[in-house]
């Protein structure tokens, strides 16, 4: 196998044009997948016999929740790589991903509330998963505010990286504590655990939407990393 020098693309200079070339494809894929996914969600998937039509919000809610957690992991991965290899691009990628991750977390919470109202008659339940999602939003907000508060870009990247890694170590502990807390107060809240059995078309719709969100996240991160490079290293961006 021909050895590809991956580190070549770790320099903003060579990544900038690459990101520019890839971005439209991911955006197009995301649009296409959303159209198909939403079609499946609204016209193909059967009506739920318990919840009626309102359940269809899970086609947004569940993939958004998946993405919110996954993006944090990817962010922490970039952050760790940045600290170990001291590459500039890693910090930029982590910071480019964070707003998208926060957006999906917010979307998951918002759609969760919208789903909760018709289903359980309340906008918010202190369910383990919803609570963890809320805490995840706090972690994203912490990352975004810390990196925004530091003027020196290198310090911002590296401090953000430490925070993201600390967060990633804590997420399982926080999740565990919240689940445990929730089972302790089971009587007081409604559990989301008894999810209805899923039809295959529902699953397909959800997976399509998840893929669409994936493509969107990549496109958004690439777009954002390009503007970060333009801002910080005008030279790298201009020579293309």
């Amino acid at each position: 196998m021909a050895a590809i020098n991956w580190f070549k693309f770790s320099s903003p200079h060579s990544f900038y044009p690459l990101a520019g070339r890839m971005m439209p494809w991911f955006l197009a894929a995301s649009l296409l997948l959303s159209i198909v996914g939403l079609y499946v969600a609204f016209f193909v998937a059967p009506t739920d016999f318990q919840q009626g039509e309102s359940y269809r919000i899970i086609f947004i809610h569940v993939p958004a929740a998946w993405m919110s957690m996954f993006i944090y992991l990817v962010m922490a991965g970039w952050a760790g790589a940045g600290l170990v290899f001291n590459t500039r691009l890693s910090g930029m990628m982590a910071r480019a991903l964070a707003p998208t991750g926060a957006m999906f977390t917010f979307l998951a919470l918002w759609t969760g509330a919208l789903w909760g109202k018709p289903t359980w008659g309340t906008w918010w339940v202190w369910d383990a998963r919803l609570t963890s999602e809320l805490i995840l939003l706090f972690l994203y907000i912490g990352f975004l505010s810390l990196t925004a508060a530091i003027e020196d870009e290198r310090r911002a990247d590296r401090a953000g990286a430490v925070l993201a890694l600390v967060g990633v170590v804590n997420i399982p502990i926080i999740y565990f504590s919240v689940v445990w807390w929730n089972t302790l107060h089971q009587g007081a809240s409604v559990s989301l655990k008894s999810a209805p059995k899923m039809a295959t078309t529902m699953l397909i719709g959800m997976l399509l939407m998840a893929l669409a969100f994936w493509m969107y996240s990549i496109a958004a991160a690439l777009l954002r990393v390009r503007s970060i490079i333009r801002e910080r290293e005008p030279r790298a961006a201009a020579e293309v």
Binding site: N86, E151, D152, E153, R232, E233
Partner: protein
């Protein structure tokens, strides 16, 4: 003994210097000159290992300082533009603590003697809060007068600024003595000075 290999420093998007290399043997004074904002303090902080260079390497006894860490710092004494003394403590307490951080155990009598050398003996038991800026500076510099056989590298950021003639002479004689003992001294200074030992000078271009 101390060497820099093609150091590069980028701060806040500004390229301060690149391709800066030098090597100085023991017993040499390295004077760093350059205009304001040229990156003198950044270079000193890179030599201390406080600031990671954007490129290049600092070598101490032929090994990168990144790998030596505490072993390197045990031999390094850095006096930056912040005095590094606590307001709540007396001058003497400050010296004893500063020595402890460098891994040397001194008695308060030794601290008192060091303060005496810089003309601060009679203020040794006053909280530093009550001293003037110039006097605080002397308390910081009194670290150089401590009995400290480990110190093989002094990095001093403008040690002569805001000192009167007596104190300047005292600091210069301390530097001379340390150089004679085979140490390397790196310093910046706006005012002219002379030492007995070999002087090596590098200038950071703007």
């Amino acid at each position: 003994m101390l060497a820099a290999q093609s150091l590069q420093c980028v701060r806040g998007g500004r390229h301060l210097f690149e391709n800066l290399s030098f090597a100085v043997p023991g017993g040499t004074l390295l004077r760093i000159t350059g205009a304001n904002g040229a990156g003198k303090t950044s270079l000193l902080r890179i030599l201390c290992g406080l600031l990671l260079p954007s490129g290049g390497e600092v070598l101490w006894r032929d090994a990168p300082i990144r790998q030596q860490r505490e072993d390197y710092w045990r031999e390094l004494r850095y006096i930056g533009h912040l005095a590094g003394v606590k307001d709540e403590f007396t001058a003497e307490e400050n010296l004893v603590f500063a020595a402890a951080l460098s891994g040397i155990d001194i008695k308060s009598a030794a601290a008192h003697a060091a303060l005496d050398q810089l003309g601060m003996g009679k203020f040794a038991h006053l909280p530093v809060r009550m001293l003037s800026q110039g006097q605080r500076r002397r308390v910081a510099l009194a670290r150089l007068a401590l009995p400290d056989s480990n110190a093989a590298l002094w990095v001093l950021d403008e040690p002569l600024a805001a000192l009167d003639t007596d104190a300047t002479d005292c600091v210069l004689s301390l530097i001379d003595a340390r150089l004679a003992a085979g140490a390397v001294v790196v310093m910046t200074s706006h005012q002219p000075f002379s030492v007995a030992a070999a002087l090596h000078s590098i200038s950071i271009p703007v």
